[in-house]
């Protein structure tokens, strides 16, 4: 089985992002970059699946030269090789999906696993768009029944079950979990409660240096990267204003109803 996974380079979610004074862009100089945590879960799942069923895990990232670090992280976790689409352009989800569709044409994986979203733009679209372009089945927000505290996670079992050419995906939906069976090849996107991604190890970091990492360009794939979504402006969320202490629940309800008008 061959599994293609994504590894996006994103700004560290623990650091505060700065906005250019004119609101036109984010200031990324001096920022720390990490792998999108949802993608780490995708890599982990792919590694567990190939451990159980045999096969190969290929890590893909589209981004600047330094995005190779995030691919190498996937390789240090245990993936077999990487594909780096080199670009300094800002990519929207649609461009990423069209790039991935081309890579899928070439690589012919049985499964593509992506994070359900990236922690920088939280778009939550690339997986769905990719399934659309490929005409494949999609299982989004993959999770697992028992969550992360049960024995299956301790035993590092995959949350996705593959049987008879189908992949079974437990999905987080409003009000609970549903299980769907997808014909393969298929696209799966990961939610947070699918697995705990493993640590890399120092020996594997050293080995990852020697694994194959191919660089490709959008031109060679014949994909136009011009965005369909235009960023108009970035702004800070409004600063929190000081709270008020009220003397009784009645006053609170009165204020919420009449002053703030947030309850009827």
């Amino acid at each position: 089985m061959k599994i293609l996974v994504t590894m996006k380079r994103v700004t560290d979610y623990e650091r505060k992002v700065k906005i250019a004074p004119d609101g036109s862009h984010l200031i990324t100089e001096g920022m720390n970059f990490v792998a999108n945590p949802f993608d780490e879960i995708a890599v982990e799942e792919a590694l567990r699946l190939t451990k159980a069923h045999g096969g190969e895990v290929v890590v893909f990232s589209a981004g600047p030269k330094d995005a190779a670090q995030q691919i190498r992280q996937g390789l240090a976790m245990g993936a077999d090789r990487g594909i780096h689409l080199l670009t300094d352009k800002e990519l929207d989800s649609d461009a990423v999906a069209r790039l991935l569709a081309k890579v899928v044409d070439q690589e012919k994986p049985d499964l593509v696993i992506l994070g359900k979203q990236a922690t920088d733009d939280d778009a939550n679209q690339a997986g769905q768009l990719l399934a659309g372009y490929l005409g494949w089945a999609q299982g989004t927000f993959a999770s697992k029944h028992e969550g992360l505290e049960g024995p299956e996670e301790k035993a590092q079992k995959p949350g996705l079950a593959i049987e008879g050419g189908k992949v079974h995906v437990v999905r987080e939906v409003d009000g609970g979990l549903e299980t769907i069976a997808l014909d393969m090849p298929a696209v799966v996107t990961t939610d947070l409660r699918l697995n705990h991604p493993r640590f890399t190890t120092l020996p594997n970091i050293m080995k990852a240096k020697k694994k194959k990492l191919d660089e490709v360009t959008a031109e060679s794939l014949g994909v136009d990267l011009s965005p369909k979504v235009k960023m108009l402006r970035f702004s800070e969320p409004p600063a929190r204003t000081a709270g008020q202490i009220v003397d009784s629940v009645d006053t609170l309800i009165h204020k919420l109803k009449n002053e703030r008008k947030v309850i009827a």
Binding site: A68, Q69, F199, T201, L202, P203, I205, K209
Partner: protein, 377 residues
């Protein structure tokens, strides 16, 4: 950033940081109060390769330059407990002589299991009669057939209570440094006992006095040649002192960050502390010391990486870094005020841990004396 840091160093830093944030930092307060951390931490650290940094692959290690060791020291230090750093990494002074000089059988017996975190290793040199004057140590090992019979005691030994293997400096020959040998002694050896010591800081690490009462140790446990032990110990010094400097640097940075965060939040006389010039200037002085320590550390490590042995610089680096720490810990506690004196503040703990770095691994005065001999006057 120093150019010696590659992408792999950064990946390693990210690994150690995540390891420390999930496996160490949340438990530090409890471990400090319990005056111990679980043995399982060694195994966890071993699993991700943290205990094998710089050791040969044949023994389960990962060959890596000295900047990896610096990254390891710095990131483990971010948990804010010198005791955890010292205890978890006590093999860092215990096994290098074995790796460099030990027989194949001895290496195979000790090194892989320590690197996997299954067994704990300690170095025992200092004695109740003195630590600085290593050449004058008193513990004797008398040859009897295929055994050495060891008598004497060691003190202030890190991981002394729970180590499985001890690399022990003993006197096998005449007076002075030419009569010293290194022996590997198993904790199960009849006649060996240890008693714990209470300390000012480093609570999470155990420190002990060791007693050897006619312990019979096989001759095959000799590390390197008989009476050549002093040379084995010297092999440790450069790395150990650079590691201490890396620790001191990292703990200084922890104090600085805690002080900045506090100064930002704490309001006195209607304004945050950070708006007061006196406080801002204190912070600048701290930052200045930290910055110079880091540059000194990296420049010296780079020379060692090139195969040099800049002894005077390493001695001065160790002093510079530990003085930086003494300054930063003192000022951080001052900026935190009463909160800096109460258990729970990182600076409170680190303040109690400054002296051990200025004393252990070659005391400040000894470092100056050694530097003076190597400055080429």
């Amino acid at each position: 950033m120093h150019p010696a840091y590659t992408e792999e160093h950064q990946a390693f830093r990210a690994l150690v940081r995540r390891f420390v944030e999930t496996e160490v930092t949340p438990h530090v307060e409890a471990w400090e109060e319990a005056k111990s951390f679980p043995r399982a931490l060694y195994r966890k650290a071993g699993e991700v390769g943290l205990l094998g940094v710089g050791y040969p692959e044949a023994y389960g290690g990962t060959p890596a330059d000295i900047f990896y060791s610096i990254v390891l020291c710095e990131e483990v230090a971010k948990a804010g407990s010198g005791g955890v750093s010292a205890g978890l990494l006590s093999h860092g002074i215990a096994i290098p002589p074995i790796v460099a000089l030990g027989s194949a059988a001895l290496k195979a017996k000790v090194v892989p299991t320590v690197i996997r975190g299954e067994k704990i290793a300690a170095l025992a040199v200092t004695e109740p009669s003195g630590g600085s004057d290593v050449a004058n140590l008193q513990t004797t090992a008398r040859r009897e057939g295929e055994h050495f019979v060891v008598s004497g005691s060691k003190t202030f030994i890190t991981s002394g209570m729970r180590a499985d293997f001890y690399t022990v400096a003993v006197r096998t020959g005449g007076e002075g440094m030419g009569g010293i040998s290194l022996l590997l002694i198993d904790r199960d050896t009849p006649g060996f006992t240890a008693t714990p010591l209470e300390k000012m800081g480093w609570w999470a690490s155990d420190t002990a006095t060791l007693y050897f009462d006619e312990c019979r140790v096989p001759v095959s446990n000799l590390i390197g040649e008989e009476n050549q032990g002093f040379f084995g110990l010297m092999l440790n010094f450069n790395h150990e002192r650079i590691a201490i400097a890396a620790n001191a640097y990292a703990f200084s940075a922890v104090c600085y960050e805690e002080a900045v965060a506090w100064a930002r939040e704490r309001v006195t006389f209607g304004r945050p502390l950070l708006s007061r010039q006196v406080i801002r200037h204190k912070l600048v002085d701290m930052a200045m010391h930290i910055h110079s320590t880091r540059c000194f550390l990296e420049a010296t490590a780079y020379r060692v990486m090139q195969g040099e042995s800049p002894i005077a610089e390493i001695c001065m680096l160790k002093n510079h870094a530990t003085q930086c720490l003494e300054h930063c810990a003192k000022e951080a506690v001052q900026i935190l005020g009463g909160a800096g004196y109460i258990r729970g503040a990182k600076s409170e703990r680190i303040y109690r841990e400054t002296k051990v770095l200025a004393i252990g691994g070659g005391a400040e005065e000894i470092m100056k004396e050694l530097a003076s001999k190597h400055l080429g006057w």
